[in-house]
């Protein structure tokens, strides 16, 4: 993994290297790499003046942070209550079939990571998935596959 150390510095500086901002710093790093590369942890320890154990406990406590590499597109299936009663499980099934991975796995080409989230706040449009920051609603088994096809096309072109 090639890490742009300048960017990491900039992010931490933007939060004044404040230890209370640890989670947000990691989220911003995650926005670049789709995960927090473990190599940056010693740097954060140094810059924020905190224990490595705190970084690990924060990274593993919050679901928005992953220490494992994730795909270019993070496909999150909402399994919140509203989506659940409208068939979120079927959406997950269809995606597992389409991507040939199980929940919380990444496709071999590192293009997609399939995850479950608990409600993204678009409950009226359920079942809902998000792909990175885009939300797609009113889905069924076949339309969700089309959404994935679109992203794959985008990537190829």
């Amino acid at each position: 993994m090639d890490i742009d150390w300048k960017k990491i510095d900039d992010i931490a500086d933007a939060y004044h290297n404040d230890r209370e901002s640890l989670l947000m710093i990691m989220q911003d790093i995650s926005d670049i790499y789709n995960y927090v590369p473990p190599e940056v942890i010693p740097v954060l320890v140094e810059k924020l003046g905190i224990n490595p154990s705190l970084v690990y406990s924060v990274a593993t406590f919050y679901k928005t942070i992953s220490l494992e590499p994730r795909g270019k597109y993070i496909v999150s299936v909402c399994t919140g209550t509203a989506c659940h009663v409208r068939g979120a499980e079927k959406i997950m099934d269809a995606l597992e079939d389409r991507l040939h991975v199980k929940e919380s796995q990444t496709t071999e080409d590192r293009l997609f990571t399939l995850e479950a989230v608990r409600c993204v706040g678009c409950c009226a449009s359920g079942p809902v998935i998000t792909v990175n920051q885009n939300t797609h609603g009113g889905l069924n088994r076949s339309s969700v596959v089309k959404v994935i096809d679109e992203y794959e096309k985008q990537h190829v072109s």
Binding site: T64, V85, A124, G138
Partner: protein, 617 residues
Amino acid sequence: MAKLENRSALESYRNGLLAEQESRKKKLISLCAGSGCGAYGTAKVYDALVQELAKHGLQKEVTVKLSGCHGFCEKGPILVIHPQGIFYPQIKEDHIPDIVEKTIKNGELVQSLVYKDPATKEKITHEKDISFYKLQQRVIFGNNGAIDPTSIEDYIAVGGYQALEKALFDMTPEEIIDQVKKSGLRGRGGGGFPTGIKWETCHKHNGDKYVICNADEGDPGAYMDRSLLEGNPHLVLEGMIIGAVAIESNEGYVYVRHEYPLAVKNLSIALRRAEELGFLGKNILGSGFDLNIHISRGGGAFVCGESTALMASLEGMPGRPRAKYIHTVEKGFRNNPSNLNNVETWANVPVIIDKGADWYAAIGTERSKGTKIFSLVGKVTNTGLVEVPMGTTLRTIIYDIGGGIPNKKKFKAVQTGGPSGGCIPEQFLNLGVDFDELTKVGSIMGSGGMIVMDQDTCMVDVARYFLDFLKEESCGQCNPCREGITAMLDILTDICQGNGKEGDIELLEDLGMMIQKFSLCGLGTSAPNPVLTTILYFRDEYEAHIKDKKCPSGVCKPLFHYEIDEEACTGCTLCAKRCPEEAITGEKKKPHHLNLEKCIKCGICYDACKFDAVRIQ
């Protein structure tokens, strides 16, 4: 625009804005840019609209405004044309040329796009006449669809920051607190604690005090906080600033979920603009009062909505709750007195100060005042955000506003209060919804999620679903919650898979009571509620699973199969065409047959059949 240095500067600024609006009086197209409509493609519609207007040379004459959430999210993207107030739901890019040509240029309706009431089939042109809106009282949510959330000018023009002005210059902190107490406002985040009393206690303590806004909105199925922050962020900020004046705090935080990027964005813009105009920062409107507000982004942990966990998270630590021998109003964030309120609670404050406690207290019931925004979702025709006075009956909300259950299915239950709440059956549909009435039937108000369930929802599966959620979300510090929820979940999973045993129901009740009594925080003490209420009201479904090994709703896969009723089947072939496993065979116009060996119980045929010929057995 320079800082507003005093009260009269704000007043003349507002008058200027109003005069300007008046003189412009041009056509305005308001397109909803909330997350719900966004999921249905607002961005594409917006681009098409701007292009089309330019093509006709109308870009100067017609303003396009990206507004906040209108609430009727089911029918997004929503487009409203002013001054006539013409309402077009479910707009796609290819509708735009017609809208511009007919409605904008010639003032005619595009008949095919006009909203049709699903019950009466009547066409309705104006938003306010639609049954979904007619019975609502949109005190808090009303301006959402009218203003551009990124424009502080829009907010000021509808009377925004007027209440702050009053609080700063005409009232003492004690008077503000007194008004909030008199209004009867209770916290909208779940517990329903009286807001004025919380403020009063916090005001009494000394130290560097904090005002904090809880925008963690962890309750799955509820999204009113998101829509408020996205659609009218200044309303929430104004409430917080008034709160800070009252408790005499000079620093505030909004703790918002990272999963709500648009809320974070609109809130950041709002903070910056409020600082630029002098509603935040040093010497606010020349009053001598200082306040800074920061955003902190949380990371998808339900328990972080709990007050002590939230404050731990704000401090950069994992969000683990602590026992509350000492309340956060005394020692909270950074060990200082901290006043935490929910987004919607804060949003009520400017209204109370502006219109007065008496006006506010006239709305609602004896012990629950004001309006409440509910997120009406699940198996209901009109899903969306609904604001009604406290005390409105479930029946009015679900049937009159929500349009009832779609696809001729039968109502089974409504789930309120999220993972800490319960499932309310049909016999209580006439219940007037307020804090106390919901508690009486074993549920809670929670943050206002209302998930409607129909005959196809299995109540045992719902109970299992919530425990599965809570098992993941339990922070794991205390045994009753960590081990108890896991034990209950194991039993429920067994029941759903056909391995339920005699005595399981009683065991669930015992475990539930133990977890309620001995858990450390609210997550644990309320975790058994969904299980206990479903046992209370739907015991027969549990028994069917355990004794007959049947799931009557056709959800728990090992406990049912599909069958085609030969009498009802018309041989339309739809199910056979849709079946992904080619398990259905039969000739056109002849009864079809389902091969159970091949069937994976995906339910596609069941959903597809228009003749109710696919049955759950």
